[in-house]
């Protein structure tokens, strides 16, 4: 087995990658502070975070789903549906009860996802793709593709206004929830069992953990969070629209993955997600300030994402992988040769 000694297999490098979230965040903040005057001021931070609050709520739900080794693409559609319920029912039920119905929509949608994946045994990528199409179509059907307006634009203003000169309402809600998630994941037995389920549901089942219940719960949680996001977001603009939330899921997944949670399941962290979200928030703020066109912003986000998962691969598993261009080339050439070499270099995950 050839273990090349170079920068990618050194301990320093691995330390770097393990703390990559902090490093990327620091780098982003430094770049932001260089190009944007007033970037490090509190007000900028507060606004940037407010911008990310809705995304962050969805990302909290996705963190749990990804740790459980699954995917949920339907968050955006659930957000739209919850928002429509929250605003559309205001006239009949009043604002607060309507908001609760919106929340209920999220919970119900999550339960449907759970049913599809756990009971019908449909792969979560396909199942949540189907439910995404279904919920989105439902939103359009109910509203005839037109946005619905609430009865009072001042009602929901509180969530997007700074409270006591600090963070906005929805930012605070987000912070509370993500810290609660972090505590649950790291301190509670159930949280740790979730990691086990995500790593290998069959063996978790064998050691007495009710994997199926955890997986179902993960989807209900994700749906609920999307519902919370939908309620808050629609109240903040006093509008429920069938086209809201269209791009939110993929960016949320990016934030969660930048934060270190892996799509394969079994590994992740709420604080990592927070770091990923802060990075995206800082990047967006800095780039928008400089009128950087949206497609360039997309390149930057994509490069960071790719860089991070590539680096992550170098520290994954028991074998330190060498991903220098030279090593990749060697691997490509050697795959043509005998099976002995193939078995030696083969490392499947």
């Amino acid at each position: 087995m050839n273990a090349r000694r170079n920068i990618f297999t050194s301990d320093a490098f691995h330390g770097l990658v393990r703390n990559r979230v902090v490093i990327i965040l620091a780098a982003t903040l430094i770049i932001g502070a260089t190009f944007v005057p007033g970037f490090l001021e509190f007000r900028t931070a507060s606004l940037g975070l407010d911008r990310m609050a809705t995304l962050g709520l969805v990302a909290i739900g996705l963190t749990v789903v990804l740790i459980a080794g699954q995917l949920d693409l339907s968050g955006g559609a659930i957000l739209a549906l919850s928002g429509i319920a929250t605003i559309g029912l205001q006239a009949e039920l009043g604002q607060i009860p309507a908001a609760f119905v919106g929340l209920g929509v999220g919970i119900a949608a999550g339960a449907i996802n759970g049913f599809l994946v756990v009971v019908l045994r449909i792969n979560s990528l396909v199942a949540t793709l189907a439910s995404m199409l279904f919920f989105r179509a439902l939103a359009h059907l109910i509203t005839e593709s037109r946005p619905v307006s609430g009865i009072d634009p001042f009602f929901g203003l509180a969530v997007s206004r700074p409270i006591g000169g600090t963070f906005t309402g929805r930012t605070l809600i987000f912070f509370v929830l993500i810290i609660l998630l972090h505590l649950w994941l790291t301190r509670s037995v159930a949280g740790r069992q979730l990691f086990a389920v995500g790593s290998n549901p069959a063996s978790a089942e064998a050691s007495g953990i009710r994997s199926r219940a955890y997986l179902f719960g993960a989807f209900v949680f994700s749906g609920t969070m999307a519902g919370v996001a939908g309620v808050i977001q629609s109240l903040s603009v006093n509008t429920g629209s069938p086209v809201f939330g269209e791009n939110i899921v993929l960016i949320a997944i990016a934030a969660v993955v930048i934060g270190g949670t892996r799509l394969e399941g079994g590994r992740g962290s709420a604080l990592g997600t927070l770091g990923g979200l802060l990075t995206i928030a800082a990047l967006t703020t800095a780039m928008e300030y400089q009128s950087v066109p949206s497609y360039v912003q997309a390149i930057v986000t994509g490069v960071i994402l790719l860089l991070l998962i590539l680096l992550d691969r170098t520290v994954s598993g028991s074998q330190r992988r060498d991903v220098t261009l030279a090593a990749l080339w060697r691997r490509a050439r050697s795959s043509r040769s005998s099976r002995i070499t193939e078995r030696t270099l083969h490392h499947e995950k």
Binding site: G69, Q70, L71, L116, V118, R121, I122, N123, S124, L125, V126, A127, L129, A130, M132, L133, F134, F135, R136, A137, L138, H140, L141, S145, G198, P201, S211, R212, P242, A254, V257, R262, L263, E264, G265, Y295, V296, Q297, A298, I299, T301, G302, V303, L305, L306, I309, L310, R313, R321, V323, L328, R331, A332, S335, R336, E342, R343, H346, H347, E348
Partner: protein
């Protein structure tokens, strides 16, 4: 990779003729039922014009579906960079048309998309990255670069001859673009079912570790699936650009999910190792026919998703149930 749900304890295995053939007959039967239902619903349905229209609607997405089938079969999960490679094809063919001519511009467009697909393949097949997140990231990057290249605006073409050629008809009936689509389907099917690459693809998809111990080049096969999808998407983007004579960056939005829908409804498993290009073609045909019926019934575009979503769930649930009955897991 999304982990599968563990089986409930105490499951019994049931074999039978119905479970073995049921999966294979289901889709053709469904298509037949749809044709009958369509004829009953509207007298415009079974006209040559309408059915030709269905085929035209299928053509662009159909070329992409062929590539996506390979991705599924090799257990590559999904290629989410399709909107980007489609856009690259469309933007480049029209952007370079005036300087180097339509055919060379088309070749450049397809090549650029192929390079993107090749990078995907490299990262997923050789570096072992997760396909979902990798194609997501690479798609965003590639689309962004393509937009930088054309200056972030809509690109207009002025080659109406090429446009007329593609939308024109052979023998006055079959549109050229449909012929191209069918040719790609046939070639794709032959490659997957008859060639060495096809056999390797099935092997890689059904049992990667065992296959890795044999002489099959697992990583290369995985990589080729993504290279293929990127190239085919770029090709369909080129065709789309020429037919529209305008290309904007969002030109391919949603095509990845449409392709996945078709492949899944056709019975090709996400977990790899089974299914054929013809299955995927059948799935696409079924979805398009249903969509056509909904259009004739006056169902607005967006709510059609209700049926599509239900269709996916139905198709996969039946497939999963039949697999368990048939002893495959």
């Amino acid at each position: 990779m999304t982990t599968p749900v563990p089986p409930p304890p105490g499951r019994t295995i049931n074999r039978g003729l119905f479970s073995h053939y049921g999966a294979r007959l289901g889709l053709p039967a469904g298509i037949l039922v749809t044709l009958i239902a369509g004829a009953l619903v509207s007298d415009r349905f079974l006209t040559v014009q309408n059915l030709t229209n269905v085929l035209i609607n299928m053509s662009i997405i159909g070329i992409i579906v062929v590539g996506m089938t390979f991705v599924f079969v090799t257990r590559g999960l999904a290629d989410l960079s399709v909107p980007a490679t489609v856009a690259v094809g469309g933007l480049l063919v029209l952007g370079l048309e005036s300087s180097i001519g339509t055919i060379p511009a088309a070749i450049v467009g397809v090549l650029a998309a192929a390079i993107a697909g090749g990078i995907n393949g490299w990262l997923i097949g050789y570096a072992g990255l997760n396909p979902v997140i990798t194609t997501l990231a690479s798609g965003t990057i590639v689309l962004g670069i393509a937009q930088v290249f054309v200056g972030g605006v809509i690109v207009y073409g002025d080659n109406t001859e090429a446009q007329a050629f593609l939308t024109g008809r052979v023998f006055g009936v079959v549109p050229v673009i449909v012929l191209i689509f069918l040719a790609v389907v046939v070639i794709g099917h032959l490659v997957l079912s008859r060639s060495m690459l096809g056999r390797w693809s099935y092997a890689v998809g059904s049992n990667p570790s065992a296959t890795g111990a044999s002489a099959v080049p697992v990583k290369r096969v995985r990589a080729i699936a993504f290279l293929m999808t990127g190239t085919l998407s770029g090709f369909s983007g080129v065709l789309l650009g020429i037919t529209l004579q305008t290309a904007r960056p969002g030109i391919g939005t949603g095509y990845e999910f449409d392709a996945i829908t078709a492949v899944v409804v056709g019975g090709v498993s996400l977990l790899g190792g089974s299914g054929t290009v013809l299955y995927a073609f059948g799935g696409l045909l079924f979805v398009q026919l249903l969509t056509n019926i909904m259009v004739l019934l006056g169902v607005p575009t967006e709510p059609q998703g209700l049926v599509k979503g239900a269709l996916i769930v139905g198709a996969v649930a039946i497939d999963v149930a039949l697999r368990r009955r048939g002893g495959r897991e």
